[in-house]
Amino acid sequence: MSGTATFAHQRPVNLGFGLLIVLLYVFLMAPLVMIVGASFTGGLLIEFPPQGLSLRWYLEFFQRQDLVDGLLMSLRIGAITAVVTMTVAMMAALAGQAVSGRLAGWFQLGMTLPLLVPELLTAVGLLFFLYKIELGKTVAGLQMGHILMSFPYAYVSIAAAMRQVPQSLEEASQSLGATGWQTFRLVILPLVMPGLAMAGIFAFINSFDLYTISLLLKPLGGNTLPLALFDFLTYEFKPTAAAAATLSILLSILGVALVQRLVGLQRAF
């Protein structure tokens, strides 16, 4: 950078700014660090810094039927959400290529609508609507809510990956006599694979964390992990909750690492 030499005399300003930046990153990371720390405590209280080190609360987590059931339900719903949104978003992104000009902006807006409208409103609307079509309090209804809320993340990832594919490749493939399906399977799909995988990761993790929509649409006798965790925190404030939350943090860090490997974080966000 050519700027380093010119700004060198203003070091005190830079030092102050550096300190501010460090504090802001501490602010961003502190809650996560505290949960992970508190989960390894040997004591009986949720506290940071933890008292001693032990894995007892992880053991306790896996012995709690309500929390494990929540985990399994969240994993199942998340997996279905990922597969469905990847498929639907891939198709929508292909269609999006055929839209141009002013309409392209509207198309993009429409596809990201569930992200822009607060989850609360969608959840309230869906509560009545699912009741009306007799899907209220069913797993299928909850599943639809999760697919809807996670779709924009999948769409944005795939659409970004599609923009990197040169149009000329598609034309070349077609002029060599490939059908639309062959062009998609042999030319486009391999090129957008990383973006498609990223779409699945975003959709899965988003579904795994949804709270408000799950609360209003939850099926009879079923809980997702965040719902089970909220109930747990209200009635028993024990480090088991920190262990459950740490698993959730681990999942998102795994997601971040995968996205970095697949496409690079800078291009993804």
């Binding site: 502190a30 269609a95 009306k132 920190a242 970095q260």
Partner: protein, 284 residues
């Protein structure tokens, strides 16, 4: 554009998904807000405007609405204050350093709101780290009760929404050409002038959507006030969900949700008008 392009048909499942499970339900909710209260069912068969009348004539609901709108405003401004330096710092980073910084933004973003709020619960305990820091700095003399206060709700909401603001501002800053800055400093502009006259206006395309998104989402945030606000302070979202799941007053709950949405839209429109005028004056 060719509307007969067969490729367009591929968008049908996505359009159906959003239309059937979002547009229809929200339209349906508007209709629900005009239903009479139900006796055996959660809503009655006839139509009435009594729910809106009840909300708008009761000072209690005005108070809760005002608290929700003001809290979201404070959260948005604080988010901007926190996000701008981070976005600035990120936009300068290259290579491995940039990856680490992006990971620091992405990890909280991809961790659920409930989990992150729980982290603040640990931090805000009476003998927890937040009190220790305040005591250590000599800001307070004895530990404060931080849990279940409005301050903690605001702090946790800022934490939830910072990434939503950092990313668009960072993108806007990255798009500013370095030659523009070099040119103006070579023409004698001070660092402050460069920032005020060039960088700040050019980062506006990131600031504006970031602020709108954070405001709209913060007004309707449910988990954070429910977990960290306790029973003492009510916000609109906790009130709405209480009416829907606690007392099963669907029409009244819908009317509350619509009052909240309409007032949010009004605030956003006001803000847009003000900033447009401000930008006009900056150009002149």
């Amino acid at each position: 554009m060719n509307l007969r392009n067969p490729k367009l048909l591929l968008a049908l499942p996505a359009i159906a998904l959003i239309f059937v499970f979002m547009i229809l339900p929200i339209t349906n909710m508007i209709e629900m807000s005009f239903r009479t209260p139900g006796t055996s069912e959660p809503f009655g068969a006839d139509y009435t405007a009594m729910h809106y009348d009840r909300i708008l004539s009761d000072g209690y609901y005005w108070g809760v609405l005002l608290r929700s709108l003001l809290t979201a405003g404070a959260v948005t401004l604080l988010c901007l204050v926190v996000s701008y330096p981070i976005a600035w710092h990120m936009s300068k980073a290259r290579g491995m350093k940039a990856v680490v910084l992006y990971a620091c933004i992405a990890s909280p973003l991809m961790t659920g709101v409930l989990v992150r709020n729980f982290g603040w619960m640990i931090a805000a305990a009476l003998n927890g780290p937040l009190n220790e820091v305040l005591l250590g700095l000599g800001i307070i003399e004895r530990p404060l009760r931080l849990l279940f206060t409005q301050g903690l709700v605001i702090l946790a909401l800022v934490h939830v929404f910072v990434p939503f603001m950092v990313l668009p501002i960072n993108n806007a800053l990255r798009n500013i050409s370095p030659t523009l800055i070099e040119a103006s400093s070579s023409m004698g502009a001070s660092r402050r002038e460069v920032f005020r006259d060039i960088i700040l206006p050019l980062s506006f395309p990131g600031i504006y959507p970031g602020m709108i998104l954070v405001y709209v989402l913060a007004v309707a945030a449910y988990v954070t006030p429910a977990l960290l606000g306790g029973q003492m302070v009510s916000y609109m979202p906790t009130l709405i969900i209480g009416e829907l799941t606690g007392t099963f007053q669907w029409p009244f709950g819908s009317a509350l949700a619509i009052v909240l949405s309409v007032s949010t839209i009004l605030v956003v429109a006001l803000f847009t008008g003000l900033t447009a005028r401000l930008m006009e004056r900056a150009k002149a």
